[in-house]
């Protein structure tokens, strides 16, 4: 199979960010260590992306920022996929009242303005990486649930499922072993796109000052950059580019997976 160049680029960038997140301490100086050299422009000796208002190295901060973005993006997408599959499979398999109730719940969660709700929850319960992950995961599952429910409801009566049922397979095994493998494609696609959405959402929270106060994140960097736009453009440009390219890469990957699963 031929891989389009844009997909190869996206995969390459994601591999790079993964390496950056894993080996950040070896590749850059301490992102938390300020110094006397505040607001140095890019290409300054020792700070090739410049420094922020507290003299912290922008390159180090951007590099360490991959950790928060990838952690939040990947864990929330996984959790969202698990919740979505569980809710969707239950609703599609049981049908009837359970189906109606679960789908109303899904609809409620789909209606809620996710960003505002996440802001409110973090503001009430206090910031922290784990809370951010919980909130975003709790809001990430509805689309997956709908897709899975639709497939399970259709496949429930498919001949191969009937065959397995006649063969004496119990209900739970039917869902897990016979039906769910067929919906893996769309679930993976949605998960890849959910990583992108979660990274944007986390950046927005960070920009509102509700990220984890003990960790560098791209959103928090942009929050700080807001007051220095006039004097220090580099504080805003580099973390923003990091978000945009990473989100673009996950979106591209999702689209490519979608095209690949559709072609089969």
């Amino acid at each position: 199979m031929r891989v389009p160049p844009s997909v190869a680029l996206a995969a390459g960038w994601l591999a790079l960010t993964l390496l950056a997140a894993a080996f950040a301490p070896l590749l850059a100086m301490d992102p938390y260590a300020g110094g006397p050299d505040a607001l140095l422009p890019p290409l300054s000796p020792g700070h090739w992306l410049g420094t922020d208002d507290l003299g912290r190295d922008i390159f180090a901060e951007t590099l360490f920022g991959t950790r928060v973005s990838l952690t939040v993006g990947v864990t929330t997408a996984l959790a969202g996929a698990v919740i979505g599959v569980a809710v969707g499979a239950t609703a599609g398999w049981l049908g009837g009242v359970a189906d109606a109730a679960l789908m109303r719940l899904t609809e409620l969660f789909q209606t809620l303005p996710r960003f505002v709700l996440a802001l409110v929850v973090i503001a009430l319960f206090g910031p922290g990486l784990v809370k951010v992950i919980f909130v975003i995961a709790a809001l990430a599952w509805p689309q997956t649930a709908r897709v899975v429910r639709a497939s399970v409801a259709t496949l429930r009566a498919a001949p191969f499922v009937d065959a397995a049922r006649v063969g004496g397979m119990p209900g739970a095994a039917l869902v897990l072993l016979e039906i769910l493998p067929n919906v893996a494609g769309p679930v993976v696609v949605l998960a890849a796109l959910d990583v992108a959405t979660a990274i944007l959402l986390e950046a927005g929270l960070g920009f509102f000052g509700l990220g984890d106060p003990n960790l560098v994140s791209w959103g928090a960097m942009l929050n700080e950059a807001q007051q220095y736009l006039r004097g220090a453009w580099w504080m805003a440009v580099f973390p923003g580019c990091a978000i945009a390219v990473t989100v673009l890469a996950f979106n591209r990957l999702g689209d490519a997976l979608n095209a690949a699963s559709g072609a089969r």
């Binding site: 209606t111 505002v116 802001l119 009430l124 509102f208």
Partner: protein, 324 residues
């Protein structure tokens, strides 16, 4: 018959939307009630408020009573339009939000209008020559715009147009010394509106262009288009008179169902541009731990989304009677 069936449809959608609205209010209360520490803090805000005021709130909301009573009281208050009192601003939350409403409506309305007009226009042009230069450019821009955080786009627009070029103001809704009178005032307002509206509309412009293009392409392959062309209808008449009218339903749906995202986006954009709307108020209320205002905005935004979805459903049905 047709009018009756539309009436029935509206009733059915209402029967769907009203419970959803009640769920939203109950969820709001669930958040208040489950705040760590004393829930009265979530109703008063994190201030050294007088003890007897706190006691009064505790009594009024029935915090010393069983949970169902609390929920019922909260629901009753909200349904009467009482969103609480912002101790920080010495004002009811409702009047606080009402005072900021015009600015947010101006911003989101402009952004939506611009993205709808330009988006539909671009979508139609793209559908005329799929795979052409314009189509490829718009597709590329759309892909990029989905990946850009709106607030960062706002910051970059400020950098380029306000700081480097000095063409447009970067903060607020009018000149710092107060808005000038007459036409100069309107011009001043528009100059302040331009950058935030642009930052907010980019993503929806791209989305609407993509949806319009898709819907147009689908309609253009239909038999009745071939028939219209065979009758000698001009390209303009086919595109605008026949195809666009039938492609309108999905486009309107996309606009309606994205209202929540636009309101959320405006919270970020208003913060970047110091725009004195509800989004900026949300940011202020979070920073100053003015929880009643924060929860009031959450309610208003969620309710607007439910109502916008309802209106979209009804409009969609009127445009396309095949929907049951």
């Amino acid at each position: 018959m047709r009018a009756a069936s539309i009436g029935l449809f509206v009733l059915r959608r209402l029967a769907h939307a009203i419970p959803l609205l009640l769920c939203v209010i109950v969820l709001n209360y669930a958040l208040i009630a489950s705040t760590p520490g004393d829930p009265v803090t979530a109703l008063v805000g994190d201030f050294p408020a007088p003890a007897d005021y706190k006691a009064q709130i505790r009594r009024e909301y029935g915090l010393d009573r069983p949970v169902p009573v609390q929920v019922a009281r909260y629901l009753g208050r909200v349904l009467q339009g009482d969103l609480g009192y912002s101790f920080a601003n010495r004002q009811t939350v409702l009047s606080l939000i009402a005072g900021r409403l015009a600015a947010t409506l101006a911003l989101t309305g402009t952004a939506l209008g611009v993205s709808a007009l330009l988006g539909v226009g671009l979508g139609v042009l793209c559908a005329r020559r799929p795979g052409g230069a314009l189509d490829r450019t718009v597709t590329g821009l759309a892909t990029a715009s989905y990946a850009l955080p709106e607030f960062w786009v706002g910051q970059m627009l400020i950098l380029v147009f306000a700081i480097w070029l000095g063409w447009l103001p970067s903060q607020g809704a009018h000149a710092i010394r107060g808005a000038p009178a007459g036409w100069a005032g309107i011009a001043d307002g528009l100059r302040h509106l331009l950058l935030p509206a642009l930052a907010l509309s980019l993503r929806y412009l791209a989305l609407i262009a993509r949806i319009t293009r898709g819907a147009m392409l689908q309609v253009l392959s239909a038999d009745f288009i071939l028939a219209a062309r065979a009758r000698g209808a001009g390209e303009r008449a086919v595109l605008l008179g026949h195809a666009l009218r039938n492609a309108a339903a999905p486009v309107i749906t996309v606009i309606g169902f994205n209202l929540g995202f636009i309101l959320a986006g405006s919270a970020l954009i208003e913060t970047v541009f110091g725009w004195p709307g509800i989004g900026r108020l949300l940011f202020e209320s979070i920073s100053s731990r003015d929880y009643p205002t924060m929860m009031g905005i959450m309610l208003i935004v969620s309710a607007s989304v439910v109502l916008a979805n309802l209106a979209t459903d009804i409009l969609h049905r009127m445009l396309d009677p095949r929907i049951g």
